[in-house]
């Protein structure tokens, strides 16, 4: 099983969806593929079909229209899967928090496993997030007895607030 774990951590295929971002996070996500950052070093390749993907990268806040799309894509991904919310819009809703068409962060539609702040986050930060997501992928597979649970419930994860100082 160690081999499987190794393989899972080493080959996160990512699917990117722009829920309604301003492009800033999108282009930084795409920049991760390019020679200077090259996330393929960690086996991460961008993939078009959710059926192949292990990791959903969400940028931008969820609005009424993109919520359905995001859910559909998430449902079509097969277990184990993780969701990475990239950028402020996807974590909360950033500067758009007042807008009528903004429902909030990505966690309004799908359960999010990794949050990365920044507006937009640097490619380095996105690499960090992908590596962290890949580690979580491994854990998810271990937790849930294979074959994994069928239903993909749970879109209403609450943001937890904890005291720090």
């Amino acid at each position: 099983m160690n081999l499987v774990h190794l393989a899972q951590a080493k080959s996160p295929w990512v699917l990117h969806y722009d829920a309604s971002s301003c492009n800033g996070c999108d282009i930084e996500t795409v920049a991760c593929l390019t020679p200077l950052y090259d996330i393929e070093r960690f086996g991460a390749v961008p993939i078009g079909s959710p059926k192949h993907a292990d990791m959903l990268l969400v940028t931008g806040n969820v609005n009424h229209k993109s919520k359905r799309v995001l859910r559909n894509i998430y449902d079509q991904m097969t277990e184990p899967k993780v969701v990475v919310a990239i950028g402020i819009c996807a974590t909360s809703s950033g500067v758009f928090h007042q807008s009528y068409n903004v429902l909030g962060g990505a966690d309004q539609a799908v359960p999010v496993d990794v949050y990365i702040s920044g507006c937009p986050p640097r490619p380095e930060a996105i690499i960090d997030a992908i590596i962290m997501g890949a580690e979580k992928l491994k854990k998810k597979w271990k937790e849930e007895e294979h074959p994994v649970k069928r239903s993909n419930q749970g879109s209403d994860t609450e943001r937890s607030t904890a005291d720090v100082g």
């Binding site: 301003c22 800033g24 999108d26 390019t34 078009g48 993109s66 799309v69 007042q98 807008s99």
Partner: protein
Amino acid sequence: MPSRTVIPFGPQHPVFPEPLQLTLTVEDEKVVEAVPSLGYVHRGLEKGAELNDFVKNIYLAERVCGICSFMHSWTYCSCIEELLNIEVPPRAEYLRLIFAELSRVHSHLLWLGLYADAFGLESLFMQCWRVRERSLDMQEAAGGGRVILSACTIGGMRRNLDEDMRRAFIKEVAEIRRDFERLVPVFLNDYSIKKRTVGVGVLSKEDAQSLGAVGPTLRASGVRSDARMLGYGPYKEMDFEPVVEEDGDCYARGVVRVKEVLQALDLITRALERLPEGEIKVNFRGRLKGEVFKRMEQPRGEMLYYVRASRNKNLDRFRIRTPTFANIPPLLKMLPGCDLSDVPVITLSIDPCISCTER
């Protein structure tokens, strides 16, 4: 009986970084009909802006689009400056021009990369983005952010450029030019690229004008039109001549952008060399009153801003018309009759920026 395939092309589609849906009706592989469907990126930004203090709106305007972010903040700021009758110091205007052209360089390089990806030349995509990283480094060093700069503010600039950096910039621009010139012949001469782009998605001069195309899409169809010719900011001192191509196909649109990158690099160098000394920001007081209408040239084309205010902290009305919005009707004109494989190339050839369009 013709047998037709109906394909949803997007919103989640690997070729578009942004969600745009085209409902394609395809016969064999010929596109018969393309119906766009928008609204995936609609955030209600304009309405949101009316709820805000107008100063905060700079940050909102910047986030209309992450790629041409600087242009949006410049246009917004100059609208407010006009309402408040602020004279922006010349150094700030020059800095704005430098950042604007820098964002044009990075936007066009980004586009050239995506365009290369659209016709499946991945290594070219990589090379374009690799060159682009240099311009991002410049933006980060000077503006503080790789993509969203937050450098422009009402009354001037928040960031200055010291002398060392100015020299470094001139050098860096030369480097970008050197790197980019290696890629220019690929876009201009490569056999396979020409095979995919020449004669694809032709937009005639008449169609371009009557359908209201703007920016490189319009200029590639042989129309000499560029909002920078209005001479806002320091452009009037730059003896500026827009790049025009005649053919109106995807290849021509590529060529226009390739040449515009070189032109923008030129403009940056010239502006850096002429950069006047002095203040970069003036303070302002007062409340807004009146309405203003601005046209400026984004990397994607001409952008319109409309701002109305009535002695209030907030704006009464805030309206943006972005270049992609104007370019969608020409796109729909170009799509029917093309091959399915051409759809990404044609769609990308207008350089769609959906987040601009839908705000």
